[in-house]
């Protein structure tokens, strides 16, 4: 009897471990998402957490296309483009948003450093595009006026 009970307990423990592992699996896979960077409420902190530095050199080779005035802060079309070689990633920051980091796009070899997306802006703010190329950071910024905020409601 006691042996039997032991095997049952063991089976349950093993089962528990299995369930635990399967729950953990997606978490581990999620590690690529830089949580500390996305949760940071200051642009410098977000840049440090994501790119390891908050210093990016202004560069004319980085083109940030965004409207001067965004009537609707909920949908602000933005295009980031650069002619640089060996681009690793493109990140977009909105300084005055609750969490300045908007998104990071990985650019594998063969993919153009030319990405368009639409983002939310809480209020008028500087939008910064940061390009990581050859391990260095380059940026372009633009002030976008927002008439109606896209956060809260």
């Amino acid at each position: 009897m006691s042996m039997n009970r032991r095997t049952v307990v063991k089976a349950i423990a093993a089962g528990g471990a299995l369930i635990g592992a399967s729950v953990m699996m997606p978490r581990a896979a999620m590690a690529a998402w830089a949580e500390s960077a996305f949760k940071a409420d200051k642009q410098d902190a977000a840049m440090n957490a994501l790119l390891g530095s908050s210093e990016a050199a202004d560069s004319a080779e980085v083109t940030l296309k965004a409207p001067d005035i965004a009537e609707n802060g909920a949908v602000v079309p933005v295009t980031v483009r650069t002619s640089m070689a060996n681009v690793e990633s493109i990140s977009i920051f909105v300084e005055n948003n609750p969490n300045p980091l908007v998104a990071e796009f990985m650019i594998p070899a063969g993919t153009d450093a030319d990405v368009s997306t639409r983002l939310r802006m809480g209020k008028t703010s500087k939008v910064t595009a940061v390009v990581k190329a050859d391990g260095k950071l380059f940026s372009a910024a633009k002030e976008v006026k927002v008439t109606i905020g896209g956060c809260g409601g």
């Binding site: 978490r27 796009f105 990405v115 639409r118």
Partner: protein, 105 residues
């Protein structure tokens, strides 16, 4: 199988393929309040999106809550021919994820 949320338009032109994607997703930021109860609506947004072509990752995005509702992303990559398949994998902050495919036109 959950319903597909991605709408993908991929067009091969010359030696490049232009991809335009739109995901049908609320992208709830976690900062909005429910008008009736005054309570915060929990965040629910897409965190990751990966596009593969022929087993090679051609694009990867990490997104925060500041991406608009129904996210739109456009990019180009070298290679790709008409009829090729693109494999998109997305992940939500809730842990939900799915893989969808689309053909290059």
């Amino acid at each position: 199988m959950a319903k597909n949320i991605l709408k993908v338009k991929a067009k091969a032109r010359g030696d490049k393929t232009k991809v335009k994607m739109m995901a049908k997703h609320i992208m709830e930021s976690g900062q909005r309040k429910d008008k009736k109860t005054g309570e915060l609506i929990p965040a629910k947004f897409l965190q990751e999106l990966k596009v593969e072509h022929g087993g090679k990752v051609v694009f990867e995005a990490s997104m925060g809550t500041a991406i608009s509702k129904n996210p739109y992303i456009a990019f180009n990559f070298a290679g790709g021919a008409k009829g090729d398949e693109l494999v998109m994998t997305w992940k939500e902050n809730t842990g939900a994820s799915a893989t969808e495919t689309a053909k290059i036109k």
